[in-house]
């Protein structure tokens, strides 16, 4: 999958400090170095407050980094402004946790998906309507859903629509910030399946942020473990149980609830009794 060894996105020594009035600032990110290779899915785990979301916000320029550099394909994008920033944003799309909060409640789903296509002048409006239908069907919704308002869709369907909008502009990188955390476990599985399909099909690189290690392991190639604003470990997903060394990673692993383990334990107990 990883054919080209030069990273598509590179963070070097990134720091982010949130200033508080009259108090010492909070260091949300401390000297973070990361590489994202083309076609790769990089998972980021850590508990709340570990800096995962700050990292996502810095990459998408929703926040300015305090120091350090962000490189997108040999090009420094740390302090882009104006039209250049606008064009760069097209390449890095983001999907958030709470789909209901992303929509304009008075804008129909079709308009929501075609909006970026028109804004970036990628196509004429007639063509955009066609493309919207195609995108809706691609993410497992019906083309008729274009005429619905967001509140008429369920949480899982809303998240599908958000993903349709994100892939519409054909970005090179998609960032998922806790994209499945607000959904039911069964819906979460459907969305994860969709993400893996899309990745196979388009070869898009992605960063998948979640506090659930089991979910991250399922979708990503490498896992970055963050703790108190620092990257404490980077491991291959497939070698997680054997290669993870850091005590914090271990504690995350032990807090993942496993049905299989429990079933085994209960069966043993049953036999003893």
């Amino acid at each position: 999958m990883i054919n080209d060894r030069s990273p598509i996105l590179k963070l070097s020594d990134v720091c982010k400090t949130y200033g508080l009035k009259g108090r010492q600032g909070v260091q949300a990110l401390q000297n973070v170095d990361l590489d994202l290779y083309p076609g790769e899915c990089l998972g980021i785990v850590g508990q709340s407050g570990s800096g995962k979301s700050s990292l996502a916000k810095c990459v998408t320029h929703l926040e300015q980094v305090t120091s350090g550099e962000i490189w997108y394909r040999q090009q420094q994008i740390t302090r882009l402004k104006g039209e250049k920033l606008r064009q760069m944003r097209k390449q890095i799309q983001m999907v958030f946790q709470e789909p209901a909060a992303v929509f304009n409640p008075r804008m129909k789903v079709g308009m929501f998906i075609s909006e970026p296509l028109l804004n970036y002048k990628m196509m004429q409006s007639q063509q955009a309507i066609q493309e919207t239908r195609r995108l809706l069907e691609r993410v497992g919704l019906s083309a008729l859903d274009a005429d619905k308002y967001p509140h008429e869709l369920s949480g899982g369907q809303q998240q599908r629509a958000v993903i349709a909008r994100a892939i519409g502009v054909r970005p090179e990188i998609i960032l998922f910030d806790e994209a499945t955390s607000a959904l039911d476990v069964s819906i979460q599985q459907q969305i994860l399946d969709l993400l893996m399909e899309l990745r196979m099909e388009t070869g898009v690189s992605s960063i998948f942020i979640s506090h659930d290690l089991a979910v991250v392991q399922q979708v990503s190639d490498r896992i970055v473990v963050m703790h108190q604003g620092k990257v404490v470990e980077v491991v291959d997903s497939s070698k997680l149980s054997s290669a993870a060394n850091h005590p914090y990673t271990r504690s995350l692993m032990s807090s993942a609830l496993s049905l299989r383990e429990l079933k085994g334990k209960m069966q043993v107990r049953e036999r003893v009794e």
Binding site: V185, S186, A214, V215, S255, L257, L259, Q267
Partner: protein, 272 residues
């Protein structure tokens, strides 16, 4: 747990309970189950399956537009549905308490935690403010919150999600209810905090012999906490059985689907 189950007459009994909303859409259809003292029942289902309506119905707190269209709820020796509002009020909080999914948003943002806490206790027990404060400190300490005094002096916005949730559970447990209803108590929390909150809930139930109905969409959580698991689909209770039986040998196809959806860490995967 054994001695608690010695009592054979059902402790809480729900018979053919039906609830519908204004437009006539049924939200609960003929739900029947019974519960022994000190038992923990997990109710699992997707959003919209009626699981939250079920525990709200048990407390007489249906959302606007909801009405009971049939059935009976008996708790100990009282038939709850025929009770007046007055009697319900004596029941809620004191004998049956509830923990909501997002308890942080139920706290008043412009009052300190302590003042709300003391008010809640004094509404049910004749106690001086000082005594109530002492009780609050003790229950918070039991939830393993580091500095109970500081928590009581702070405002909701100054606490993290996990702390707020633990405070809310402590508040619900302060009055030592006989039955605790928990609606997705760990949904908004991190995996690590989730485990802490869960272990404290089970400790509480084991210590005081409190019965609990735990509503969740995650089969793994229910399996770790509950003695029995009920599965809801389209406002019906489609399966109810001992935890081990449900997770190892599910009867309903939908139960199997819910079990498969639980994400597992590679490495403790068994071969099917």
């Amino acid at each position: 747990m054994m001695q608690l189950r010695a009592e054979t007459t059902p402790w809480l009994e729900v018979k053919d309970l039906s609830v519908s909303y204004k437009e006539g859409i049924p939200s609960l259809r003929d739900i029947s189950f019974s519960m022994k003292q000190g038992e923990i029942i997990g109710i699992v289902g997707e959003s919209g399956s009626g699981k939250s309506t079920l525990i709200r119905a048990l407390l007489g707190l249906l959302p606007v537009g909801g009405q009971y269209s049939g059935g009976e709820i008996t708790f100990r020796d009282r038939v709850l549905l025929r009770d007046s509002q007055q009697n319900w009020r004596g029941m809620r909080g004191k004998r049956i308490a509830m923990v909501f999914q997002d308890s942080g948003s139920y706290l008043n943002p412009i009052r300190s935690i302590g003042s709300q806490y003391v008010e809640a206790i004094r509404a049910h027990f004749p106690m001086s403010r000082k005594e109530a404060w002492g009780l609050a400190v003790r229950t918070l300490a039991r939830m393993e919150l580091d500095d109970p005094e500081r928590v009581l002096h702070s405002y909701a916005s100054q606490l993290s999600g996990g702390m707020k949730q633990r405070t809310a559970i402590a508040m619900a447990a302060a009055l030592e209810p006989e039955l605790l209803l928990a609606d997705e108590p760990t949904n908004a929390l991190d995996v690590t905090t989730q485990n802490e909150v869960m272990s404290q809930l089970s400790k509480l139930c084991a210590d005081k012999g409190t019965g609990m109905i735990l509503v969740t969409h995650n089969m793994a959580i229910a399996a770790h906490m509950a003695d029995r698991i009920g599965v809801m689909l389209d406002s019906r209770l489609v399966e109810l059985g001992d935890t081990l039986r449900v997770i190892s040998n599910p009867e309903h196809a939908y139960t199997r689907k819910l079990l498969d959806a639980v994400p597992e860490l590679e490495g403790n995967k068994h071969d099917q």
